[in-house]
Symmetry: C2
Subunit: 850 residues, 2 copies
């Protein structure tokens, strides 16, 4: 009799099939659980054995009278000390900084080689323009296509900047697939290829993600040594530091990196994390720049895009209106960029014909976009009017140059500057070149950042901003050739200063951050323009924030990540929405005197991670909340292996005579026999062959088919029916909450709490849901979903689990029991995703019986 | 019969006197309450009248057919619009920035004049050294003594830097007397005098306080226009921005100001406050520097202490160890400074003989300290060996000079530098001068900051750090006269760069902040030394934080402010303390079915601001918490004026015939008569003459002295006894909680929550206390006090009320009822502090009856 026939038998009663299958699936969990238990126990045994052996080594050594015994004791002690020290934060941070600096430097090195190769190819073919064009275009297309394909195959999570995902993760949402080794590899290689292609893409955003990946992997690696790396809230803190490291080692800007990461990823920031970020980012930036010195690229440690504006009179007071204009214009520009970026993505999604075609040929879209952009920048073609032959880095260096381009009469001085030549066109004015550069790069960057490769938008936007600033600066210089200052000394206008202001303002507007100002100072190594930069950045932010969300928030909305949106400024209508308007009134709850069956039903229907515990259905007094995993543990304890075994053993001893025993050795005593039977039964639990005998049925099914059942009865089947009966009896018992961790103070709101207050509480505490009570009576529940809907309309989100970061502070139990609960929880999740995932794993007992 | 005799009569029963007096005091509250009610009502009437008149003006204008009616309508509308706009945040921030920039600039101007005056006096008397000495010494002594005296008389709260207090206030503790106009005046004038004296005192700390004062006063002022300025959580946010403004306009360092204020004052920082700080600080710094340009002090906007180090090669990689040494040494130095400062304060407190003497002559200590310090810096005396004639600002400018002092052979170049001359002594090496300067200034600064005047320690420490950096730099320059760099070009060492590093490191070590690095860049206008500065600051912080608390935390401990100390790093024993070890088990609670008398008793004995509401004494199930003020409102509602009046009116009508009516006009109807009687009775409440008749007595007193009472009975006395009886009856009624705001979810902990977790929750939510429950049953309470005791030993704190900042998010009621409750609360506090504070305030009815 195999399981197939049992299923067929079950089909006979007709309508009850689904019911039975559901039940079967549910009990399958308990069956599977035994395998997990066995594995865990084996692991525990192995571990304790190892530990014992280590301590035994030490003991042995202590008593060893040999020659170098003392040395060896010392070595082992040092090892122990090192292992304990490795658990310290600062070692982790140093390692992280070192690793990221190396990654950043190696990546920069590879990108530089890629770009040089393109130039070399282009330069070598200068005899034939068509061949030149082919080389100019093919190279980036191949690189981008490879990058897109590689990322797609290895880890699609690596696509994009990664800052939106980090923001979501730091909010407390678990997006585990974004922090794997595969993603790391895909992101690093994909990013190198993408940037090596010369497309207007950035390095900053992906670096935040790469640093976080590094931190997560390093955490996992270091948890092999010490225990504290298993703490989840610590991991979140380390991720926050890693974000700072990412920006810090990308731009050699430790302070700006820390601030930028705070602004971009956090809502409420714990100041005690501050030093971690500073420490790691500084170390990382230091190593990054030292590597450049060691590689003889630089003489000493300096800024990445060092400028040399005059110090004595950086700008005149009367130039400030021009800076303010740059700020306001860049504010509008930033909002436009975000809007354009979103428009392109939405357009590609809506056009179903295009979409379907592109979906089939996933690599066609990147290739087409790259082809378009590189065709337009082809230097002998249109590229000559927009300095197309310059790489992004070269453009920035020339834009920040401290000489004036538009000044009349000093053409000979202008000649000797290496790259600045590209901006000069024999027929066309430098202003036209700049305008064309700005306009073309603007839409190109917005388009290029939608390519599914690892890429950021910060650097392209930064360059566009610098170009706009330069444009204004050159105009000012042309307008006031001798400067504005009237008191004797002539201080000519420095257009490079305007470029710095413009770069900070536009990148600040796109990302909605003020810290781009600091990044600019650290990038250029000069802080003389601090007030113009600050004024422009603040104005740009004011304009951009009132028009559009930040680029990262925009991507979060497009990707529908489970993030709590910020409440906009001045949306006063939000103050009038109350919790009672948005709460879910149909709450799943359990009562103090419920049965295990009720528990089971609630677990099957609810979706929240914790369940409300009320006094009774009548009073609805909220007593606390219990985690779903805890309840599952309760349920499996009631129906679990030890009790099941005890029951079977009891039954076996009792019904010994009636069963046909397949024991060969009759000389053994009865207790041994009983235990052997039990083992046989247990094998039935996990093995596949005798699964039928444990296939559970609902009681009423048995009752209605009692006769047929009794006719075809075998000893095993009878046993299983008895077990099912036992299960039913167990399910009807009242739940004993004594060993259950109850959170006595789940977060409660009253029905008149405003949306604004709810938002603050949710974001401050990182809540997933809160119960709504009225004088102690549970009347509803509000989860992140409802809150988000209320704030921005109805958006549905799937595939992400939300975990309140402070949850670990609420429970009072030990960590070991927590792990157990988590284990059960995983089991449950796995079970839900795969119906009846039963593999044939021959256990020890199985092999023995064969 | 006056009140004296009643008191004497009350004394007769002996032991019950205290009881009666206590009762009397308690009922005195209700008596006094009537006055408050009257005032409030009058204010309301006045306000509504005003409002009506404004709208009437508008209405009238609309119907006015006159020539310029439209103009006037327009004007009124504009006025309305302006008034509504004034409520916007950015206007507030601009005003704050403007105001603070003006204050800062005017103060700097006055200080400069003061210092010039001293120099002028000293210079004019160069014929006689003794007169010179007298002038040099008397001037600061007079100024400091005046500053100390003025502050002492006007507002003793203005003493010191104010950062510890701001830290406490931003933590959520109400220290109202620190944010008054008196304190503002005392702080501004006191600080100007103190800094004008030339003592080694700083401006930064007090400026944080002054900016906060400004913000608080501005809030009050602007609440005259709009409504949103009454929101308390908004005020806290504005205070946080104000702290940034304080640093920003003091050093013209907006970014560093924001970061410094975050690091110094916050534990958890809301990133949405970030832009406020940046906006206000930038505006303030801008105006501050523009004022300098307008005053022709500067040609354009530049840094405060502008340096001009070479940009191409700021430092060699091999110099980094020297920078690290500066960092570590300054870490030790910073810890020593904090220790020394605390030691001096504690020494002064312990030496009772000195202490008593100084207490009597409060101004003697400042004068003596000033005398000592100014004697030692007297330029022709010891001051010649420590550049004593330089002011703090001059010292800093010379220390940051980009030329090398110790270089051999270029003495002639050294001559022409104005102030640097002071460092050169014909007999003594410049190294000796520097060492003497560092050592002397070190203890002088530590001593000077203990003087009870408004002063900070940041700037003196900054200068000492710069001097130490300079010392190391000069040593390096002497050691490597041609620089370390070996590849062809000679790059001599820049000792000024070392001074920058040293300044940032020492000030960072003393304040435990990293943002001093940013402040240094903004102060000097050069960011070329970013990596050395960051490395030194981080090392200095690491060393100092492991040795001593920050200067501000040290002062918080000395002043015993109610602040939650940070948990140190690596104090793992804290993880083993549980809430059950520190909680107070004797909790004051009220039950659902308690009487008003119970309420009254609980209110008299408890000290927490909210009281637990449990189901019953047996079950102890925690249902929620009620604010003390709410309960007082309940109690006063039960015994309050309307019910009392109703009762009296009823009695009066009933007992009309038995009373001797002092009405002259017998033609009026009875209802008028009754109302007059009532007025008479009410007058008795607030007036002093007939107070006796309302002097309440406990019922049992009346019972035991019934006879005597009946013998001397007057109508009034009888009335009062009846009212007392009525009160007693009212007190025995069961409390009706219907109109009471109950917080259904007070923060709860379980008894096994660790100290570490409790600390995090308290600081994240700004809690004052949390109830400890065990499966819903109230078993204890933990307040900030217990937590602090557990963390740092037993420290008692008095005189400050703690308010949880999130409290406003919890309650669902309207603000009007809250204000009422607060009013009652004030009344209660006032009442407690002054026993029976009955003044004779002749009311209208009083005057009429005379």
């Amino acid at each position: 009799v195999n399981s197939q026939t049992v299923k067929e038998a079950a089909v006979e009663p007709g309508g009850e099939v689904v019911d039975v299958l559901l039940e079967g699936r549910m009990y399958g969990r308990y069956t599977q659980e035994l395998g997990v238990y066995a594995k865990e126990e084996a692991a525990r045994l192995r571990e304790s054995g190892q530990r014992r052996s280590v301590s035994r080594t030490l003991d042995l050594l202590e008593y060893d009278k040999g020659r170098c015994a003392k040395c060896r004791i010392c070595t082992v002690r040092c090892q122990k000390f090192l292992i304990s020290r490795v658990g310290e934060d600062w070692i982790f941070l140093i390692l992280l900084g070192l690793l990221m600096a190396l990654v950043s430097w190696v990546m920069d090195f590879c990108i530089a080689i890629c770009l040089q190769a393109q130039k070399w190819m282009y330069g070598g073919l200068d005899s034939n323009v068509f061949l030149q064009y082919l080389a100019w275009v093919t190279y980036p297309v191949v690189l981008i296509t490879f990058s897109a394909g590689f990322t797609q195959i290895l880890a699609p999570q690596a696509v994009g900047s990664g800052i939106p995902e980090m923001k979501t993760i730091l909010r407390g949402v678990v997006l585990k697939e974004y922090l794997t080794f595969k993603t790391f590899v895909a992101k690093v290689i994909g990013l190198t290829c993408a940037l090596g292609s010369g497309m207007p893409l950035g390095k900053e955003g992906p670096f935040v993600h790469i640093a976080s990946l590094c931190a997560a992997l390093l955490s996992k690696f270091m948890s092999l040594f010490g225990g504290i790396y298993e703490n989840e809230s610590r991991n979140i803190e380390m991720l926050a530091a890693a974000c700072a490291v990412g920006v810090g080692c990308c731009f050699a800007a430790p302070i700006g990196g820390v601030l930028f990461s705070i602004e971009v990823t956090s809502t409420f920031f714990a100041v005690r994390n501050y030093w971690r970020g500073f420490f790691a980012a500084t170390f990382s930036a230091f190593i990054f720049r030292v590597l450049a010195v060691w590689n003889r690229d630089e003489e000493t440690i300096t800024a990445l895009f060092k400028t040399s504006f005059r110090l004595d009179f950086p700008f005149d007071l009367q130039e400030l209106p021009a800076f303010a204009v740059i700020g306001i214009a860049n504010g509008f520009g930033g909002a436009l960029f975000v809007y354009l970026n979103r428009l392109i993505v939405q357009f590609m999604r809506k056009q179903k014909a295009i979409n379907r075609f592109l979906m089939k040929k996933r690599l066609l879209y990147p290739a087409l976009v790259t082809l378009l952009i590189s065709t337009l920048t082809f230097p002998p073609g249109f590229g000559q009017f927009m300095a197309g032959k310059l790489t992004q880095k070269e453009s920035l260096v020339t834009l920040l140059d401290n000489r004036t381009w538009a000044k009349q009469g000093i053409a000979e001085e202008f000649d000797y500057i290496g790259h600045s030549e590209a901006w000069k066109h024999p027929q066309v004015n430098v202003f036209v070149t700049l305008v064309l550069f700005i306009v073309m790069k603007f839409w190109m960057s917005a388009l290029a950042t939608t390519i599914p490769v690892p890429c950021g938008a910060f650097m392209p936007v930064f360059v566009i901003g610098a170009a706009f600033g330069r444009l204004v600066g050159e105009s000012m210089a042309a307008w006031f050739p001798d400067g504005i200052h009237t008191d004797g000394t002539i201080y000519p206008i420095v257009p490079g200063g305007y470029a710095v202001v413009g770069a900070a303002a536009l990148s600040g507007a796109v990302t909605h951050t003020v810290s781009t100002a600091v990044i600019v100072f650290e990038l250029t190594g000069q802080i003389s323009h601090i007030l113009p930069v600050m004024i422009a950045v603040i104005l740009a932010n004011a304009v951009a924030q009132s028009l559009q969300p930040s680029l990262y928030d925009s991507i979060i909305r497009i990707k529908k990540l489970p993030y709590l949106p910020e409440l906009g400024w001045g949306h006063h209508e939000k103050y009038n929405i109350r919790v009672e308007d948005i709460m879910v009134r149909d709450v799943r709850y359990i009562t103090l005197n419920c049965s295990y069956r009720d528990l089971h039903n609630v677990l099957l229907t609810g979706h929240l991670k914790t369940l409300a515990l009320v006094e009774s259905t009548e009073s609805m007094i909220l007593l606390g909340s219990i985690e779903r995993a805890q309840l599952q543990a309760l349920l499996s304890l009631q129906l679990g292996r030890p009790r099941r075994l005890a029951y079977i053993r009891e039954r076996a001893v009792e019904d010994k005579k009636r069963l046909s025993v397949v024991s060969n050795d009759s000389s053994e005593n009865s207790s041994h026999r009983a235990s052997q039977e039990v083992r046989f039964q247990v094998r039935g639990h996990s093995g596949q062959r005798c699964k039928k005998c444990f296939q559970p049925f609902k009681a009423h099914y048995f009752q209605s088919h009692r006769k047929k059942c009794l006719q075809n009865v075998t000893a095993e089947f009878c046993m299983s029916s008895k077990i099912t009966e036992w299960e039913e009896k167990q399910l009807d018992e009242q739940v004993n909450f004594n060993n259950c961790k109850i959170d006595p103070a789940p977060f409660q709101l009253v029905e008149r709490t405003s949306l604004h207050k709810t938002h603050t509480i949710f974001s401050l505490l990182g809540l997933d849901h809160a119960f709504v009570t009225s004088i102690g009576r549970l009347i509803g529940v509000v989860s992140l979903k409802e809150l988000r809907k209320a704030i921005e309309g109805s958006v549905t989100v799937k595939g992400a689990k939300v975990r309140p970061p402070l949850a670990s502070f609420r429970d009072s139990g030990t960590s070991s029991s927590e792990n157990e609960a988590t284990e059960l929880h995983k089991l449950w999740d796995r079970h839900k995703s795969m119906p009846l995932p039963r593999e044939h794993t021959p256990s020890e007992s199985d092999e023995k019986s064969q």
